[in-house]
Symmetry: C2
Subunit: 455 residues, 2 copies
């Protein structure tokens, strides 16, 4: 049998120099974003006050399959990429499974996650356009850190609205983000109309991604030379994150492997959409038929319990409307939920693919997720982020199924990041204080009843 | 000009399968450890109650140049090694220097540092001998985390005595160490005679590595089936850490480079001794003459201001005596000093080499070190540990010298770890609260006057 090293790094001449735009190969395209004022598909002109122009173009382009990665972004990528594709030999041995488990590890950079893959081009394009500042939101803090890093590198001031409960659970994220000279504001805040309105309704709110997005967008459109950037959900983000999947596919080809199952955690879809891109391409073009699995928290179950409908991307209802799986833009997950994946919606691309049966979704309560995280840390020497641990949980369960059926499947999952800034959650888990609250049907119904009526 | 990739990973067939024992090539050997009871060189029988037998053998062997790395340790190494040798292109560009800067990055594992390189074999040998538990001390927490990881993997219960001020500054270290099922006790504690004696003298002491060592050793020798393990200073640790240098030398050979300067931070010497091993071998055997530089904190300056003398390795004076550069075993660095490198002494091997003129030493105050850390993080996307940042500071200063002289030197430094658990120190730096306290001559003299009299 051929020997496969534990870690596979692509040689320089096999590193992707283009991103892949999954929409180009979809026969049925995702529904377009709608302008909430007109109910019509958004245009470049609609998007330009919010996004930098090149990114707005990428957002709207559903036909060009490949985009060249700009040279300065390739240079930036080279500092921390290619990321390793790792064979989880020790985990396999521990699980006593005939399955082969691979994971693509994106945590080897200071932002601690895959988010840097989109932060770099977003900061680069903004700088190239002559913009003078950016705003964004961050949930678990990974995106905020990544964007702060990229903005510091390309020389752009940044303001980060951080979901309040994460801000409080992860005090050191602030110090990291400040190391890269960005300004950080817990959201909801009194610095915006959107934030003030949410605080007026519920002064004790723990915040949500949707709410932080409203504040960041409002600040961007009211500040000259400023634009808003987002770390997930958007088509442009999935485009940039395709580098994860392209590298994974190339590395698997190098070692003569192809995944039977591809598993990714899903919040807004940035990692999942990036990881699966080339495998979904194979599926769409009939070249292969891998089983593609989205894993989400039971506390914020947009794919497994949400509705496929037009909804706002933010709580303040100032963004365009997207057709996606959503829990309603007013949905705020329980504060006891650790880490990211707190978004009420899901990438429109992934939503469409899920709706059309190209992938499936599962959800887990968080104590099951942390069990998997600790087991993984002990076997593989990497302390995973809670978000990534959703994918670990599903991969372990698939490997256990293989043990039972005797099938030697090849499993690939995305290890999106490290858990160094999630130690409060790990502490709660060790103390047995993990709360597995799951929203009731009534709660979801109440939130979904607020969907825009024309959806 | 030949293109050199940003990150160089050794292919599997070039990964070292042996450790290198620097002492074998030293014509003048380091002075032996002495039994404080007899004043005579320690024997295997003296060491066996404290250390596991194979490790005690390695400690005493100053003639065997290469030791095979046991197969299970090689398997463990494969999970996170080889570590990358990284060309700091962005830092070079920022500094506008003709120098070529390389760094060996050891932070890509959950312990966050190079410490895992010695933790793995120490846990493995202890398990192989049939021991049932281990004790250790940890300063900044990196060693404690690494050993907890290794003990969890090889199946050995562990108790970690953590220097009290680090325990308080780095609350999340506890959560990580507990993830790997180890027990963690702030030192000095009331669980040992040594701890109680120190607390009786000074109930408000912030602790020191020397004191934590006393407690860990006492617990080991009074518990059946238990031994003590140490993450630095000892010859066995330098032996295991030689994997850093061997990989670096091999990677540099692959790209046709050889360092003019090799720079490492120095606390007890584990990283420095490992990194320089093959380059010092070249120097000892006349094959090359690189400039080898130890960098230490001005607040704990054992090489630059200490004395070369026999001293205890611990504060409680229960360990063997080592001939080394020391500030006196009672020396406790200012609590305002961030991170590790708090040890009063220095590896006897490195002390001897320094004493004989084979290397030089410099020291920096911590605000200069954090300036370098932030600059590095912004340019290279890695948030460095405060310890590692001492080496960064020195490397930057050497690169600036090159800019001034026009010399295109090749600089290699050790980036021992990441700073994710040092955010309190980074916060203090951002707030301008960094205290650059340096011990006065009188303070050092008072501590050195307590050296054992026969030294």
């Amino acid at each position: 049998m051929k020997h496969i090293p534990n870690r596979i790094y692509l040689p320089e001449d096999r590193i992707p120099r283009q991103w892949y735009n999954l929409r180009a190969d979809m026969k049925e395209k995702p529904e377009p974003l709608l302008n909430p004022a007109t109910g019509k598909p958004v245009t470049l002109a609609d998007l330009e006050p919010v996004f930098c122009t090149e990114l707005a173009r990428q957002e709207l382009d559903d036909t060009t399959p490949y985009f060249d990665i700009p040279e300065p972004v390739l240079e930036f990528y080279k500092m921390y990429r290619p990321s390793p594709l790792i064979r989880a030999y020790q985990l396999e041995k521990y699980l006593d499974t005939p399955a082969k488990i691979y994971y693509k590890f994106e945590g080897n950079n200071t932002s601690g996650s895959h988010k840097l893959n989109s932060a770099a081009p977003q900061a680069y394009y903004a700088k190239a356009q002559g913009l003078t500042s950016l705003t964004t939101e961050t949930g678990a803090g990974q995106w905020g850190t990544a964007l702060a890093e990229a903005c510091s590198f390309f020389g752009l001031p940044l303001t980060v609205y951080m979901v309040k409960c994460s801000y409080e659970q992860k005090p050191f994220r602030k110090a990291v983000i400040e190391t890269f000279d960005a300004k950080i504001i817990p959201s909801p805040s009194s610095t915006t109309n959107a934030g003030r309105a949410i605080l007026a309704k519920d002064p004790n709110t723990t915040g949500s991604l949707g709410c932080a997005i409203s504040e960041a967008v409002e600040t961007a459109v009211t500040t000259p030379g400023c634009r808003y950037v987002l770390g997930s959900v958007l088509n442009q983000v999935l485009l940039h994150q395709s580098v994860i999947g392209l590298e994974s596919a190339e590395a698997m080809e190098m070692i003569g492997e192809y995944p039977d199952i591809v598993i990714g955690c899903a919040g807004g879809g940035s990692n999942l959409g990036g990881l699966i891109a080339p495998f979904m391409r194979d599926k769409l073009t009939g070249k292969a038929d891998p089983d593609i699995v989205a894993v989400e928290p039971a506390s914020c179950p947009s794919l497994t319990r949400g509705r496929y409908a037009y909804d706002f991307c933010d709580t303040g209802k100032i963004t365009p409307l997207a057709k996606m799986y959503t829990l309603g833009s007013g949905f705020i997950p329980s504060a006891s939920h650790a880490g990211g994946l707190r978004y009420h919606g899901m990438s429109p691309v992934l939503s469409k693919l899920y709706h059309d049966g190209y992938m499936r979704a599962v959800s887990y309560e968080q104590s099951k997720v942390f069990e998997a995280a600790v087991l993984f840390a002990k076997q593989e020497t990497i302390l995973p982020a809670p978000e990534s641990s959703h994918a670990i949980r599903a991969a372990i369960d698939e490997a256990i199924k293989c043990r039972e059926t005797g099938q030697a499947k090849t499993i690939l999952f995305g290890l999106t990041g490290t858990g160094y800034f999630d130690m409060t959650a790990y502490e709660n888990f060790h103390k047995g204080n993990m709360n597995d609250y799951v929203p009731t049907d009534e709660e979801l119904e109440a939130s979904l009843s607020q969907l825009p009526t024309f959806s």
